[in-house]
Amino acid sequence: MATEVLPHTAMTLHDHLPMLQILVPFFAAPLIVFLGSRRLAWPVAFAASVISLVISWMLLMQVIDGGVITYHIGGWEPPLGIEYRIDAANAFVLFLVSAVSVVVLPFAKTSVADEVAARDHTLFYAAYLLCFSGLMGVAITGDAFNVFVFLEISSLSTYVLIASGAARDKRALTAAYDYLIMGTIGATFFVIGIGFLYMATGTLNMADLADRIGTQGGNRTVEAGFAFILVGVGLKLAFYPMHLWLPNAYTFAPSAISAFLAATATKVAVYVLLRFTFTVFSPAFQFEVLTLQFVIMPFALLAMFAASFVAVFQSDFKRMLAYSSIAQIGYMLLGICLLTETGLTAAIVHLFNHGITKAALFMAVGAYVLRNKDTFYNDICGMGRKMPWTSAAVVISGLSLIGVPGTAGFVSKWVLVQGALEKGWWPIATLVVASSLLAVVYVWRVIEVLYLQPARSDSTATEVPMSMLVPIWIAAIACIWFGIDTDTTLTAARSAAAGLLGTAGQ
């Protein structure tokens, strides 16, 4: 039988960048287990992260002007095959995730050695890389079902990572179990939603889904699919009434993992929400607009206040930060609910700015854990003098958390207020500012404990080693840097927002 063979043009390594972005960290994970060496685990993980960062930067530079890169897995054409599709929005997220990983890993080396039993280190770094590549995969893929698969890869490894905090505190096990139950329910809702969309359209490719939903218009099946996806992703991103897994998970996870997850996991979930609300569905879909404005927005506003309010009354620094994260997610959702380009820009830029702020703060928490075993306010009092560098970084990133001018946090809140005013919703703008005052209260409590209270007489705490201080300060300086040089982040975020709204090049 004579078969017709189509001529094949060889792909270069440059064409493979989208695949290598995921493949390098993903391949490194089993490699670590296969090598089984405790000494090699960290270097392999770090090398994989650095390569990922370089690739994500190259991809971001290619798409920042509104371009799109696609990659067909296995050579199968979409919509049948799985497609990786990179535009400004996900290149930005990929860059954030890999940058955070490169900063957090050097910190993790010392912190993990202290907080996780030595015999678990190889498996710990393998799980870390799986989580990392899962999060990157969620961001890069253009296939709705593939999002679910990568979401599961990252979630399952996250449960393991959180549970590995059990060496320090046994409650990490129940925290991980809680998250497992909630995360699984979330993933189930998500995949049911995708099932509905598949039923209504017969396709799983996001671009194709958008096309078909656009032409056939909304119906009950599509609406139900949207609702299920919204709830599923809502659970993953700790959207206000579904946030209860988060405080325990972040409090009892090893500090390096709290830093990594706080800066990336919920951010990637926000990205998924963005992708589904703006690419797969569109604001032309009336049901979506109503849901966002009458269901999501009130809860986002509530999150800003309620979670901040709870954060004020915490007695544990780490737990306080966890509650503050829930409040900050409120800002991002509010930005999305505005449904304008400015609102979206605010959400995307806050995703980045809050990521680096929380990374700095959670790493500082890790430094206190190393020296004081715990981060309750009466354990860390007076540390401003005993650990001056760590505490100074806490002050800087704390200011960024509040949104003081000159810091990264200010930029995103400014754009958010602008977005609200553009729509003439000045009460919302007022609420954004008012809730920031609550942030002043909870950040001030920490600063007061660190600087104005005397250290405990039995405290032997000293400054942490350079390997921890440098990552903390890189993140803290980034908070200032992106507060002053707003050009890079805002350009990328604007381009991403324009791409999502389909107004690029107009």
């Binding site: 078969t3 063979v5 094949h8 060889a10 792909m11 493979h16 695949m19 493949l23 993903f26 391949f27 994970a29 089993p30 490699l31 670590i32 287990v33 296969f34 089984g36 990659y71 067909h72 897995i73 296995g74 050579g75 393998a126």
Partner: protein
């Protein structure tokens, strides 16, 4: 060690061989008929698990020590991803099996699916055995005599 359950032990010894053979059959005919890596992996793991159930955890861990199970878990994934790497370095898309036989893409598909399924089978065997080890190695809160 008390040697009891004579019939069970004899039947198990007789069965383990055919079980493994059947696992390999399911593994390598997976691309033509029902079966494949997942099913074959589970069947292969059953051979080890039944040996452990009847002859004790210590005995089965002499045959398949836990450190080897860890390596198997990773090895399967490495084979799978490695197949993709191979096609990638041959100038084709990731996991484009056509790369393995450019003149006859269907043959390439066969080779590719065979390699990938082998990886799946090894990992699934490893996972099933690892899960069994994890549960069986737990020390009971009450010893048998205390009941």
């Amino acid at each position: 060690m008390i040697r009891h359950h004579l019939i069970l032990r004899v039947v198990t010894k007789l069965l383990i061989g055919p079980i493994m053979l059947f696992a390999l059959y399911v593994q390598f005919h997976g691309d033509y008929s029902p079966g494949g890596g997942f099913q074959a992996g589970v069947i292969m793991a059953v051979a080890f698990i039944i040996y452990g159930v009847v002859f004790g955890l210590a005995t089965v861990q002499q045959v398949l020590p836990p450190w080897l199970v860890h390596k198997l878990l990773a090895l399967g994934v490495i084979i799978y991803a490695g197949t993709g790497f191979a096609s990638l370095f041959l100038g084709y898309a990731y996991l484009d099996y056509g790369a393995f036989s450019p003149a006859h893409p269907e043959h390439g598909q066969h080779w590719g699916i065979l390699a990938v399924e082998l990886g799946v089978g090894i990992t699934v065997t490893g996972v099933m055995v690892a899960v069994y080890y994890a549960f069986a190695a737990r020390t009971p809160m009450l010893s048998d005599e205390d009941w």
